[in-house]
Amino acid sequence: MAVAQKTPSADTKPVADFSKEQELTAYRTMLIIRRFEEKAGQMYGMGLIGGFCHLYIGQEAVVVGMQMVLKDGDQIITGYRDHGHMLATGMEAKGVMAELTGRAHGYSKGKGGSMHMFSVEKGFYGGHGIVGAQVPLGTGLAFANRYRGNDNVSVTYFGDGAANQGQVYESFNMSELWKLPVIYVIENNRYAMGTSITRSSAEVNLSRRGLSFNIPGDQVDGMDVRAVKAAGEKAAQWCRSGKGPYILEMLTYRYRGHSMSDPAKYRTREEVDEVRTHHDPIDMARQRILEKKFASEDALKKIDGEVRDVINEAAEFATHDPEPEVSELYTDVYR
């Protein structure tokens, strides 16, 4: 019983424009994620990346917009579609790609893979493979902030699929009860693997999922990096001022399948093309940049080239980096 799905669109309030610097920074970071993921898909196809590989293509504006709101000491945690989050926090493409190929200089020495990377330095707390498990963990990061009495926030990402896990609501309850500084960012890309949100959720407006806990929530056009940042600012301010958690439902879309081995037959090509043609976060940013004359076509081409170089270098590194020493099998079990 399929119900027509509303296409995410900027039907909400108009959002504040970005400065030249903001537009260009966001554009570049989104492009790095896009090109990285395309390259990862390609390398998966070549057998260089194994196992599961969930690409973030289409959702770039969410993590890039949110990252623009954060400051030193803030924490980020997410599920298994995590490459974009890592790159947005400033983790190096080389180290992330080398982890995808299971090599010694990957972020987890090749022992974690696509779904399990961390960076204490960048405040990235993983990369978690069990749907929804990162939600109590992210709430615990917020607990630590409150325990220490700082004004840092934990940005805890999860998808529309995870939004139906019980531990999410256990976390909502405790975070509001104890006024923990956590922004729950629900990345609603409309499909939990192959099940559309209308087939899985009694209440499809996920920003309302915190209502019975008194947690405020907003629905945000997650394809517009400016809207994401504006919503993030509001939520972060709420959290930093001690008012407790905040929910942001990001209406977004993934262009690729759930993972590399998903043929995505549960949706039409037209649906994908519609979002891609009319709502692509990177194309829209590019268009704004040109319209406002923040940069010329040539200057953007130059950025594209630089990004391509970074990604090619990462791919090259990840292809030639050695596998971990066999002695690594038994390290890092205990410390």
Partner: protein, 465 residues
């Protein structure tokens, strides 16, 4: 430079596929994301997208070709300003031929040298230190295990402000079993935290706080309820250090009563010693005396790894002497010979020790001199102490409340078989809980649990008496 489009692997197991259809033809402009072809695998039809901008210069594998091996070049994309002349002469791959001549893909294609070295030997378990000697004349204070556990937490909380206690009823109620009595009064609500009844949630929250380098002591009202949280304990607490290549650890203690209490039936009477000790990354402790409870809980709170601390409701009220020292800490991973003997080794821990020690008394009356070992730590297991004892006695009985299959007794028996097979004069005997859910009726419950008589009988059997 022209870019070759390779036959992609579309799943972790795919080795070849059929090129069903070309959606672009030679000379067509393509941009990243455009679908250029359809590939059929044994599972599904998938689309191949262009990953670069350019012109489809040449199709190398015609549509309808079956069994094209992964990584076979299927087309060439020309970049801006390049023409067909840039394509090096490549013959279109023939049907069938593709499968035979194509590289077997995957591993071979990987450029880095794949190490084929044999698996390294598992490291020997580091030998735990012996119990610290305390000066002769040290005052011994008799206290209950409940008080000893409380003192351990209070001392560690005084010592380190990052240590906090959370769980159901731990603060205002003073602990469902009064183990956290008076902690709220001393440390306040910030560090002694009543949680809602939400095990999965607060276990995960505690682990998150530990990832942020706090040192939580999470109380489960009983370990029966921790099954709601076992995913977080295993997948998040135990594995994160490894998954992060050693970068992110999780210093946390999960503690609470484990095993059967009395007349609380099947869902509230289960021993989880074997469950948690199965998992790499966890340490598992189960003390039987007040002194061990205190010294080991202090060690657990200081340990950098996630520790499962299994207590016992019946033992909470048992009193025994505890040395009065400013900082009494015991080594994790060290068993203790509680009663030396020569004829048979009895190994147990926690509540099982009460059966083992009473049985040893009875056996002495019958002329059998039993050596009783309190394992204290289930993981890492002190195999050496057990093996050394068996080399002396040549006979072994294990005692546990848990079920027999895949139990801790089974593990001990296997280790002794591996390391002291020639010393054994009889097969190892396992006394355990019976293979049934815990019944409620008093008579049946008694039968379901191990008893002193069971231990005596087993010890006599291995002594052929």
């Amino acid at each position: 430079m022209p870019t070759e489009v390779l036959m992609p692997a579309l799943s972790p197991t795919m080795e070849k596929g059929n090129l069903a259809k070309w959606l672009k033809k030679e000379g067509d402009k393509v941009k990243s994301g455009d679908v250029i072809a359809e590939i059929e695998t044994d599972k599904a039809t998938m689309e191949v997208e262009a990953v670069d901008e350019g012109t489809l210069g040449k199709i190398l594998v015609p549509e309808g070709t079956a069994d094209v091996a992964v990584n076979t070049p299927i087309a060439v994309i020309l970049g801006e300003g390049e023409d067909k002349g840039a394509i090096r002469a490549t013959k279109p791959v023939q049907q069938q031929k593709a499968a035979e001549s194509a590289p077997p893909a995957k591993a071979e294609k990987s450029q880095a040298k794949v190490q084929e070295a044999p698996a390294p030997k598992a490291p020997e378990a580091p030998q735990a230190a012996s119990d610290p000697d305390f000066p002769e004349g040290t005052e011994m204070v008799t206290m209950t295990m409940r008080e000893a556990l409380r003192d351990a937490m209070a001392e560690e909380m005084r010592r380190d402000k990052d240590v906090f206690v959370m769980g159901e009823e731990v603060a205002e109620y003073q602990g469902a079993y009064k183990v956290t009595q008076s902690l709220l009064q001393e440390f306040g609500a910030k560090r002694v935290i009543d949680t809602p009844i939400t095990e999965h949630g607060f276990a995960g929250l505690g682990i998150g706080a530990a990832l942020a380098r706090l040192k939580p002591v999470v109380e489960f009202m009983t370990f029966n309820f921790a099954m709601q949280a076992i995913d977080q304990v295993i997948n998040s607490a135990a594995k994160t250090l490894y998954m992060s290549g050693g970068q992110m650890g999780c210093q946390i203690v999960f503690r609470g009563p484990n095993g059967a209490a009395a007349r609380v039936a099947a869902q509230h009477s289960q021993d989880y010693s074997a469950w948690y000790s199965h998992v790499p990354g966890l340490k598992v402790i189960a003390p039987s005396t007040a002194a061990d409870a205190k010294g080991l809980l202090k060690a657990a709170i200081r340990d950098l790894n996630p520790v499962i601390f299994l207590e016992n409701e019946i033992l909470y009220g048992h009193s025994s002497p505890v040395p009065k020292l400013d900082d009494f800490v015991l080594p994790i991973g060290k068993a203790k010979i509680v009663r030396p003997g020569n004829d048979v080794t009895i190994v147990s821990w926690s509540m099982g020790m009460t059966y083992a020690l009473k049985a040893a008394d009875e056996l002495a009356g019958e002329g059998i001199d039993a050596e009783v070992i309190d394992l204290r730590t289930i993981k890492p297991m002190d195999t050496e102490t057990i093996v050394t004892s068996v080399q002396k006695t040549a006979r072994l009985v294990t005692v546990e409340e848990g079920w027999q299959q895949s139990g801790v007794g089974a593990e001990i028996a296997a280790r002794v078989m591996e390391k002291a097979f020639d010393y054994l004069d009889a097969p190892v005997a396992r006394v355990s809980g019976k293979d049934v859910p815990m019944p409620y009726a008093a008579n049946l419950e008694k039968l379901a649990l191990p008893s002193v008589a069971d231990v005596v009988e087993a010890a006599k059997a291995v002594c052929y008496r």
